[in-house]
């Protein structure tokens, strides 16, 4: 691999042991994947921050790095953790003391490395992209699959689907390997998928994501001709694509800010109304759910506005309504009076975390959600889950 003089210096340990280790990991992973050089990044987003997902092994690693004196050399944000850091009681979970201690150790380590502790899977809903100067063409290293797909597909960012530790190393080293979705060739669509039905609501967008993961060969990029009704639909589409397969990007016609090079398309697929209906039926909720869950990935303002409108129309629900969001969006919603209105209908908020990365695992409750990703992971945790858009969820909660 070609290395600049500065990169050679870092590898020689002249900028400390932590940066040397971080860069050596990136170089070796890059070499194994055939990268010829590195690329500076403007921002890193580290996944694997919840004690539920990384466990003692991860805590130990992150703590060791912090003790080594590691510092992020680019603005770095962190994924949701396992608790609401200000009010753990908001999550329907009984935490052990050991869990809270482990989670705190991880957070303290990230803080000492200089991370911005907005603990969210939707860093793109915060002030961070603007502050980091991100725009179409910016190279970043993101480790949350839903954000990776959103960033590449809708913001024009360039990032591979980094594993949690690799995004962490990239944030410390300030670089990642130049390969895959960082390169123009890596972003060429290889399959075209046309959806003959729409516009799709956010639940249908998630199911489309599932179909895209099935129709796109390993690690490829699909060119998608579909109409998505709303911004939350884009987020749910990205999250589903990241959950159901190993894709890191889609070209959504009219939305993706770059013009796709269609010369590499080898297959064309059409999804009709019948296929969408069939896929939706498989995941549909039945009866009144115990919990209506919104905010996977973390809800934005427009989700909260839609939820408020539907609750105003249909009245106070009998089911529990739980929303997970970032502290950033929560504060914004507070300023706009949305939190007061929603809590008056009994809506509960969890911040910094969600039902997926917290230790929530209650097989005795049923959950209905507008998120394909939440549906997917809750089902795998043994929770009875179903998928429907917000208006249908509010209706079923009465």
């Amino acid at each position: 691999m070609y290395l600049s003089r500065e990169e050679e210096r870092i590898l020689a340990g002249e900028e400390g042991e932590a940066r040397r280790l971080a860069l050596s990991v990136i170089v070796k992973v890059g070499e194994a994947l055939g990268a010829e050089r590195l690329i500076p990044i403007k921002h890193a987003h580290v996944s694997g921050a919840s004690y539920s997902t990384v466990g003692e092994a991860g805590r130990r690693f992150i703590e060791d790095l912090a003790r080594m004196g590691a510092r992020f050399s680019v603005p770095t944000t962190v994924n949701p953790v396992g608790v609401d850091t200000e009010d753990p009681g908001r999550v329907p979970v009984r935490y052990t003391r050991e869990y809270l201690r482990g989670q705190k150790a991880i957070l303290d380590s990230f803080r000492s490395m200089g991370a911005e502790l907005i603990l969210t899977c939707t860093p793109y809903y915060t002030h961070i992209p603007r502050r980091a100067g991100l725009g179409p063409g910016s190279h970043v290293a993101w480790g949350e699959s839903s954000a990776v797909v959103y960033g590449n597909s809708f913001l024009g960012l360039r990032t591979n689907r980094e594993g949690g530790p690799l995004a962490l190393m990239a944030g410390i080293a300030g670089r990642t390997y130049y390969q895959g979705l960082h390169t123009p060739e890596g972003r060429r669509p290889i399959v075209e998928v046309r959806v003959e039905y729409g516009p799709l609501d956010e639940a249908e967008a998630g199911v489309l994501g599932e179909a895209l993961a099935e129709y796109t060969p390993h690690g490829g990029v699909p060119l998608v001709r579909a109409r998505i009704a709303s911004e939350p639909g884009l987020r749910e589409l990205a999250a589903a694509v990241g959950t159901a397969g190993d894709l890191g990007m889609i070209h959504l016609e009219g939305v993706t800010p770059e013009r796709p090079d269609t010369g590499g398309i080898v297959e064309r697929v059409t999804i009709d109304r019948g296929e969408m209906a069939e896929r939706m039926e498989k995941v549909a909720p039945t009866g009144r759910p115990d919990i209506v869950y919104i905010g996977c990935p973390h809800a934005g303002i427009s989700d909260l506005e839609l939820l408020e409108r539907e609750l105003r129309r249909l009245g106070k629900p009998r089911s529990r309504v739980l929303v997970s969001t970032s502290r950033h969006v929560y504060m914004e919603a507070l300023r706009r009076g949305l939190i007061a209105k929603l809590t008056s209908y009994g809506v509960e908020f969890v911040r910094d975390t969600c039902l997926i990365v917290s230790p929530f695992r209650d097989a005795s409750v049923s959950v209905a959600t507008n998120s394909y990703k939440a549906y997917f992971y809750l089902s795998r945790k043994g929770v009875r889950a179903g998928l429907a858009p917000i208006p249908r969820l509010v209706e079923s909660a009465r």
Binding site: V54, G143, G164, P165
Partner: protein, 115 residues
């Protein structure tokens, strides 16, 4: 990745370090130990937490002496092996036919010898 190694093989067709390896004991879910052995993998899969599990194995002195992967290594395995300082070798997929549990494996100058 360089580094010579020698030891007894433990063979797994497919392995997710997260959920299928105990980082405290170095035992696989089927009860076999990978500690101090040469781990031969057909395929690595699963969560990115896997890198951390490999690291924890090393910290707990339960890591394999080397890992041989038949085919293309994925970033999770590579990252874990580097962090844990475990030599990682790429081998031809046919190795899965010639190596068995308990085979004596020696790696010198990037060549794998199986007895």
């Amino acid at each position: 990745m360089p580094g010579d190694a020698e030891g007894e093989a433990v063979v797994a067709e497919s392995l997710s370090f997260y959920g299928e390896v105990d980082p405290q004991t170095g035992l696989l879910v089927d009860g076999r130990s990978i500690a101090g052995r040469i781990l031969v993998l057909g395929r690595a899969r699963g969560s990115t937490v896997g890198s951390y599990i490999i690291y924890a194995l090393a910290k707990n002195k339960k890591a394999p002496r080397a890992i041989i992967i038949a085919g293309r290594p994925d970033p999770i395995l590579i990252t874990g092996a580097i962090l844990a300082n475990i030599p990682l070798y790429k081998a031809d997929p046919t190795i899965m036919k010639t190596v068995r549990d308990g085979s004596r494996v020696r790696i010198t100058n990037n060549t794998i010898y199986i007895e």
